[in-house]
Subunit: 213 residues, 4 copies
DNA sequence: TATGAATGAGTATTCATTCAT
DNA sequence: CATGAATGAATACTCATTCAT
């Protein structure tokens, strides 16, 4: 049990060497730098943010930065990888175990919410052409996920066999992305409202009279 | 005599002063710089491109650059403004005089084509956080144009009165934009294919069975 | 007679060739540049003034400048030489034929007035370390002139034989110069007031009680 | 115990933190740059001196310069402020506690000596129109100091009540300044000789026969 | 002769990165 | 491991000077 464990751990069970302490301290510094970098870059972009800005925000020396990261590119890459991973995991956890007929709506809603909450990541990714790939990759992942859902539906005969589910998934992704880019400069529109409208459009399409060839 | 002269000169002999020659030369240089900047920035991004890169490509001296533009920001802004204006005009010319029932499809097709042809502009706009506004503005214009079309349709009763045509227009814009961002790194998918799929999705929507609440 | 002369001169007496016209025009342009340079440099200093500033003020092309002057240094040098020459001549004309006993006072008064009127020359000379020699030279000329006066006076026994008239002349020069430098930044004190005070000091010296060793 | 410790530590063992060391190193570099700048600017003027010249002379990197000074103007300003302050203090220390009847002579002699020793400062101040104010300010300080002395003398009745002691002080200042400007290009005349002559002139003035109106 | 567009050498300045302490 | 002073390569920008028209 917890209490027991704690007591036992103290001196003997996990030897708790001085190295552990060092490792913990090292990790704390590393996280402080990452967090500081995300704040500073989210505020002024990945290009404008200087190493000095970041270490000042993290309250460590400039040299310390280079003990943890090879260069500015590595820290940016790490922020984006970690952040995107977390974003993805958040969405996945909300969609897992949802039955197929609600999978699409759940995914759209979860993605809108999580993306809005992490819009600083996209701000960083778009602030330097070098890192746009991270934004594109996040879209790819969403598209891939949606593709799997649509494929499953097609297997079950819910969607006609001749549909290009890959591109369909891309277009749904694009609709969500419309708002991501809006959020870089405004806070509107509200993520839940966007999700509702996308679902609405997908449900009904538009009147044929509007879409003559 | 004056009259006689005038008549003889008719098409060609506008007095052709020395100032005209200067102005023409100036303009030629200016355009050479703009074109060079678009090429260089489109290739390596607005941040990485140096003034020296641009003037080398334009085959003029560095000082000449500053005779025509205050700084790098101004030349970038000019490229984007001119380019976006041209993009917009191209689309408009292809959509003008199209009857309402084909307006939506025509707009989607024209936008996909023209945007693909000018994807280097978006590459420049996204390569520096400073200029993303230009990409967002291009999307705004498209959304606004689509909004007008949808509003007209609603007035005629083709669309139900309670639809939020603004957000609808935004979502269609987002679908096109999905491809713009893809095009920054790949040349696929083909713009006409994208247009076709968007129109197809708008026509039919998705099966209700996939969109339970 | 005037009238006769004029008539005779017109076509024949001085042939008035086309070269004369060119020469006159050339000289007019040259003077326009010199005047413009004096105005611009007097306003913002010899270093800050650009060739473009000067030619804009003179309303000629930049290239024209180089048809008349080798470089910026030459035009500055010319302004200072011409100006200082004129300054010197002005003073000399007011002091010529003044009897010895009034020579010193007349020189001091004339110098204060003329220097004040041409203080922009000193502004130019002091604005670039390269041209300070011109200011020093103007002082030298004054000191030399004063030295001659004092030597004459010594020859006539008006001054004791053991006086160092050269240094004495320098000190009088220094007193005038005090104001020249003041005038670079203020317009006070009034030149005539300065002259009066210098003369007053020279007349009476200071009480011995103040100058113990 | 504390007391004991303190006693034992007495002269050397102030805790001597790592910050102290950093601060000392920083200060040493800063002084090296200041000294280098004074040497280089004194030699070739404040305009001609480049940052690279200064850092080469100081044997530090170019970037280091900007770690200590915002720009060339700031370093020049600092040199002139520090230097003028030191010049002023030197003179003041030699004049302090001198009785009134010798104050004037002592001030003149001390100023001539100290100014000669620091003539590079004036060389810098006059080499860029931007910094002439520093030379003018040094003259103002001398004039102010002399004014106070003369006012005291007037209070004691040593000088007639109707004298303009301010302008008188200015003229004495001007005489010293005559030599400062000479020293920018020559090393003559010797400062002590100048002082002696000024005092001599102030003692006797010039014969009235030379100063008729 | 006059013009002004074009030139490019020269400088100030920034900032990622290193290294002695 | 942590520090921050020092470094210098890289770049934007200026302006005296040239030269084709």
């Amino acid at each position: 049990m917890m209490t027991n464990d704690s007591i036992m751990n103290t001196p003997s069970a996990a030897p708790e060497t001085i190295e552990d302490r060092h490792a913990r301290r090292r990790e704390r510094t590393r996280q402080a730098i990452l967090e500081a970098a995300r704040i500073v870059m989210g505020r002024s972009g990945a290009v404008a943010a200087t190493i000095a800005d970041i270490t000042r925000q993290a309250d460590v020396g400039v040299g310390t930065f280079y003990l943890h990261f090879r260069d500015k590119e590595e820290v940016t890459r790490t922020i984006l990888m970690q952040g995107m991973e977390h974003l993805h995991a958040t969405i996945a956890s909300q969609v897992r175990d949802v039955p197929l007929e609600r999978s699409l709506t759940a995914t759209i809603r979860a993605t809108c919410d999580a993306t809005y909450a992490n819009r600083d990541l996209f701000s960083i990714a778009y602030s330097n052409g070098m890192f746009i790939a991270f934004a594109l990759d996040a879209r790819e992942r969403l598209a891939t996920f949606l593709t799997r859902t649509l494929e499953e539906a097609r297997t079950l005969g819910l969607i006609e066999a001749d549909q290009d589910v890959g591109l369909l998934a891309g277009l749904i992704t694009g609709m969500i992305d419309y708002s991501v880019l809006q959020w870089l400069e405004h806070t509107m529109p509200d993520p839940q409202r966007v999700a509702a409208q996308i679902i609405c459009l997908l449900r009904g399409g538009l009147p044929m009279a509007l879409l003559a060839d």
